[in-house]
Symmetry: C2
Subunit: 223 residues, 2 copies
């Protein structure tokens, strides 16, 4: 079986991405980041999802992105916005997906995997620059000039299977693959038990996705 | 003053790079990685160099690349080769410079810096793919599609001022800028006090560089 490294945050999108990678016949190695998120419930969700979907291995990399700050997700002094804002929102974490894909690449090369999956989407999303197709394509180019495997003609492929899907389409695809969305946490400010705020960008996109998909929403809310 | 983030390992090349960045008028923010190197002497050297060259801030990011293994520099079960080998040597750390530049990019964006310096060289080097000009150029492209600043028209520049220089030329340039190479540690397997093995690839390139530059070599050896 071919190996793949799958970035797994514990949210709806990355859980679906992991199910897609497994459905394509890959042995999956899930990588999560402990990057100073506001609550550990996201990482607990990642552990539950990794177990439920039968990964070969799940690693949690400590990653002190909160050392740099600059985002509502890594700096407790910055509030998470509770309504839609113009432009790229303050929940953007500088270079987050570049850092995450770089680490996935490091593990993939060490493991002998040449396939990396990331659950970014450029349809129902927060407008982050590192969720766009041009970012994924450019990272794949970089991977193949940056690594021993790449320059020796055994290239890496970066898969972003959700990139053109709406949130409703993602949920429908996950349902077909048996993803249990009750295990996932999408909220930017979930509490310790994983209950969602219901008002952040991520909660709004998730709730609308379940409504549009005509799928019962298993999300537990704080209120 | 414009700010720059400078990757600082504590070796000869990165110390020279920091001195070059400072000589170009940048306020320098040095970033080192605690990535499971064999000895802490490299990080101690980075601290000494950062202080000597008057950086504005020096951060050491914990980075468990040894969690992935796959290199003589991050896995104690793999010996560091003591003579030249064909091809890319086992001291290659999968995706190391991609990971390091990604983190430099994260800090730079959070700080408001748009200039990042890295001390790679493609002349007297170990043949690592992530030390070549095409890697640096591709990373710069990635930085400008990956980030808020990049897509908003305030681009990042990745500087690799040593890339075309021989080791002797690097040392001559550092000498002019007052770099104290006695503070630096280049050896892949230095001991705890920073004494070099004298036989690894990095030691051989360094010793030859001082000889070719006609500069007294301040390196302390274990034997």
């Amino acid at each position: 079986m071919k190996k793949a490294v799958v970035l797994l945050s514990g949210g709806l999108d990355s859980a679906t991405t992991l199910a897609i990678a497994a459905s394509r016949g890959f042995d999956c190695y899930a990588l999560s980041m402990d990057y100073g998120q506001r609550h550990a419930s996201e990482l607990n969700a990642a552990k539950r999802v990794a177990t439920a979907l039968g990964v070969k291995d799940h690693r949690i990399m400590p990653m002190a992105l909160n050392m740099f700050g600059g985002s509502a997700l890594t700096d407790n002094a910055i509030d998470v916005p509770e309504k839609e804002t113009n432009g790229i929102p303050i929940t953007y974490v500088p270079a987050r997906n570049t850092v995450f894909l770089s680490l996935a690449l490091a593990w993939a090369e060490a493991l002998g995997a040449r396939d990396i999956f990331i659950g970014v989407t450029a349809v129902d999303y927060s407008g982050y620059p590192d969720c766009r197709p041009v970012f994924i394509e450019t990272f794949e180019k970089l991977a193949n000039v940056a690594t021993k495997a790449g320059v020796e003609g055994d290239p890496f492929h970066i898969h972003a299977p959700l990139i053109d899907l709406s949130k409703a389409q993602i949920i429908q695809q996950g349902e077909k693959l048996g993803v249990d969305y009750a295990l996932t946490v999408s909220c930017y400010q979930a509490n310790e038990t994983g209950e969602a705020c219901g008002v952040c960008d991520s909660c709004r996109l998730r709730a609308q996705g379940f409504a549009d998909a005509n799928v019962a929403d298993p999300t537990l809310y704080q209120h």
